[in-house]
């Protein structure tokens, strides 16, 4: 097994024993990257800079929990001096003059950023097909989508181009590609991780989280990025547990709820079978399985597409060609706005801006936006009630495995419905993780676990226990062919 196919905790062990040097880790990932270019995980890579930094670390003492670990960052997080594109033409030429808090935290722990990953434009999409720079391919089958919007962050880890990565999750954009690429992908509690420096899509839903090859790596990355940030008013000042320690506690007696609403129409039979099998495995570890109900589940997608697009329509207003990024020539300011925005945004982004503008506009606010905010309350309350009875809620991550490239691009609603299982966690602000629970037709299937606010530890604990029961997480997509 090449170094780049190992996990963070394995590499950390080797570094501690001085069996490898940071530069060797870096060379391994860089050489893998050369072989996997066609998957298009990255919008931009920094091989020379990353190698130079790794070589400097060779002779230095270990800096922190991620010393010498090559990481990839979704291209909607700012790094000073680097372009941040959000996979959009409209940010052409925008060089961030500051660094996102999460990235700074990784750097402080000694991680080395090797590149900015591909994504759906402004994180609006579920397949990484709306990127201005072209789509990313699924590492397990290059005819398939990798999921999205954090597709590139998923594939980079899956392919061994990075040892860990960060994505952002507004309606499933970490968990769903993690599921489709066979990784662990975790969306923390809203407020657990600072959003400062994350280019906003829907501010009340966005949250940054890690992609990792296994649960322990996810725990290490989560620990590194979590915590209060005075620059983000919505980040919460509460203690961050020792996740790797918490993770290893046994799950005997843990109550796991299975909501019936997640196993109705639309779910792929084999996906359902994998998830059901996972339930049995967890039960055999001593967990208590309970049937529960989340009655407002069917309203989640509608609620989400109102709340998210409303916020997006306002968040994306700033891309207007005046202060930075693309500007189309025009004789007056209104035309400048219209020409720039029309040329700079792709269809999906425009569609969502129009929808978001509609639901906020005069006369429609109460019928749509206010109604959705109320529906959000009901969805949140579903979860609060459920977590009075159970510790963890188990569902599939995605109703299907990865689909063919282009299959859903003409039908926005069909695409939106592929997020049906992941959206509720964002609306409720709760943490959720996707772990690999098997394969169907050579494509990974994801299991989603959700917990109460700030209880990432119990998620990691159940996910880790599940992982010990199988070896799906040890399979690697890259075969060298």
């Amino acid at each position: 097994m090449e170094i780049c196919d190992k996990t963070i905790h394995e590499i950390k062990g080797m570094l501690a024993k001085k069996e490898i040097l940071p530069s060797e880790i870096m060379k391994s990932t860089l050489s893998r990257m050369e072989k996997t270019v066609k998957f298009a995980s990255f919008i931009k890579t920094f091989p020379e800079e990353a190698l130079k930094y790794a070589e400097e670390q060779d002779s230095a003492p270990l800096k922190g929990a991620l010393s010498g670990i090559p990481v990839a960052i979704k291209d909607n997080m700012c790094i000073e001096g680097k372009e941040t594109t959000c996979a959009s033409h409209i940010l052409r030429g925008f060089v961030a003059p500051y660094t996102a808090t999460v990235v700074q935290r990784l750097l402080n722990e000694g991680a080395i950023v090797i590149g900015k990953t591909n994504m759906d434009e402004f994180a609006m999409g579920s397949s990484t097909e709306t990127s201005f720079f072209g789509n990313t391919l699924n590492p397990w089958n290059k005819d398939m989508v990798p999921g999205g919007s954090s597709g590139g962050s998923a594939t980079s880890v899956s392919l061994g181009e990075a040892i860990g990565s960060l994505g952002s999750d507004t309606g499933g954009s970490i968990r769903q590609p993690a599921s489709l690429c066979g990784l662990v992908g975790l969306k923390p509690t809203y407020g657990r991780v600072s959003r400062y420096g994350l280019v906003a899509f829907a501010s009340s839903l966005d949250q940054i989280g890690p992609f990792a090859k296994d649960v322990e790596d996810a725990a290490i990355l989560l620990k590194a990025i979590s915590g209060y940030d005075p620059k983000d008013s919505t980040s919460v000042n509460t203690g961050v547990p020792d996740y790797t320690g918490e993770m290893k506690k046994e799950i005997k007696g843990l109550k796991i709820g299975v909501p019936k609403e997640y196993f109705l129409k639309g779910i792929d039979k084999e996906v359902e079978a994998c998830v059901k099998k996972a339930i049995k495995e967890l039960e055999s570890c001593g967990a208590e399985i309970k049937d529960i109900s989340l009655p407002h589940t069917e309203y989640a997608v509608a609620t989400y597409y109102i709340v998210a697009t409303a916020e997006a329509s306002s968040n994306l207003a700033r891309y207007d060609g005046v202060h930075y990024g693309l500007r189309e020539k025009a004789g007056n300011i209104i035309d400048l706005y219209k020409k720039t925005r029309s040329a700079g945004f792709g269809d999906e982004v425009k569609r969502r801006i129009i929808l978001g503008t509609y639901v906020l506009s005069s006369g429609y606010y109460d019928a749509y936006y206010l109604k959705a905010q109320k529906a959000r309350t009901l969805i949140k309350e579903d979860f609060s009630k459920a977590f009075e009875k159970v510790d963890v809620i188990l569902t599939p991550t995605s109703p299907t495995t990865a689909w063919k490239i282009g299959e859903k691009t003409d039908d926005p609603l069909k695409m939106y419905l592929s997020d049906i299982y992941t959206i509720s966690a964002n609306l409720a602000g709760i943490p959720a993780v996707s772990v690999n629970c098997g394969f169907s037709g050579g494509l990974p299937v994801g299991l989603q676990l959700q917990a109460a606010h700030f209880n990432e530890a119990v998620l990691l604990r159940s996910a880790y226990a599940f992982e010990q029961m199988n070896d799906y997480h040890k399979k690697r997509a890259f075969s060298g062919k």
Partner: protein, 476 residues
Amino acid sequence: MEYEIVIGLEVHVQLNTLSKMFCGCSTKFGAEPNTQTCPVCLGLPGVLPVMNEEAIRLTVKTGLAFGCQVSNFCKFDRKNYYYPDLPKNYQISQYDKPLNAGGSVPIRIKGEKKVIKLTRIHLEEDAGKLVHNVCGGSGVDLNRTGLPLMEIVSEPDIQSPDEAYAYLTSLKQGLKYLGVSDCNMEEGSLRCDANISIRPKGVLQLGTKTEIKNLNSFANVKKSLEYEARRQEKALGDGGRIVQETRLWDAVNDKTVSMRSKEEAHDYRYFPEPDLVPVVLDDEYFRKVAGEIPEMPDVRYERFIAEYKLSEYDAGVMTSDRDLADFFEETSKQGVDPKKVANWIMGDFLKEINTAKVGICDVKVKSSDLASLIKLIDKGTISGKIAKDVFAEMFISGKQPEAVIREKGLIQISDEKAIEGVIEGVLKSNSKVVDDYRSGKKSAAGFIVGLVMKASKGKANPKLVNELLKKKLDEL
């Protein structure tokens, strides 16, 4: 037909904070363009706002002082519209849960007291500035972007341009007493838009209003409202109608002009700002802030009349500024006649301040020094006229009056012998005037007093001069 005027004013006031509303950039006026900006106020991708606690406190203080219902719960909303001075293309403002609702501003108009009701006072961020004709286009300067602003909205409760003027004056006075804003119109820290409509007397329904912008002084607010009322009256009188529109005040030609731009219907799409959490304040907080509110100018005005027996006019001037009122009170408490203090302040004190263009706080003359000066006049140590020179010197050097008098040898001559000597000298060399007096022209006496004072370099005690001269002339 007789019409009545209905006016409502929207006043934007920049709060006295060191840093901006949602980031740490300086609020100092006059910096080079775009040098007081950061990723947050520039609205760069990925940034987040964090509330300035002081801005909240100052707005609460204002609300409490003007009798508003200060909210226990308030939140911020986004007001969405496109303009190049607004880098995020939305303004963080307050929509349905403003910090302060209701309240009123007291005014005095032609000796009558009245209150102008307020609709609300909310907090928001300022936009930037557009500078025209830079490199063939417009230049955008974002130094002002994100400054904390209070928007003070009055009810359509103002019935004349004079009342509008009185309202603005009283509001400004109050805000300056509170120390919440500089209220400097030239630097843009106080801005005003006016809404005006007219309706036939006795009719309850409001007429169509126009909004006047570009008002850069209180005098122009008054003038523009006078103009606009006349214009609307003429339009209706001619059988026309009023178009609801924004009009600009053209201060050069003294008229309002229609903006004529194809103004689209505004649809600001307000919604709660997801990046900021609500502000929840309790009674203890309100009590603490209320404790910081000084006696407000209208209350002080009444008290000055009652306590110091000042005329309404004098009380008005004395309370026009908090520092001035403080100075007046401190001086008056040192055993001198408040009326004399007020006269000194309205006379030489304000004259010197205006000439030197300094603030009251920067004046070197202490209240105890002015009190001493007045006492020296009362005692007859110096004359009122000499006192003016003494004061001028005190104003420049900050010396005590006794020191100035000593150094310049200005002590009044009250020695009768000495004065008689001067009188004799004057009479001798002005025998013609003496003859006039004797031939019955009594006014000549005053002229002679003047000559005596001049000969004594103003130092002779005028009262003694009068007495002694009369005696002397009668003896002749």
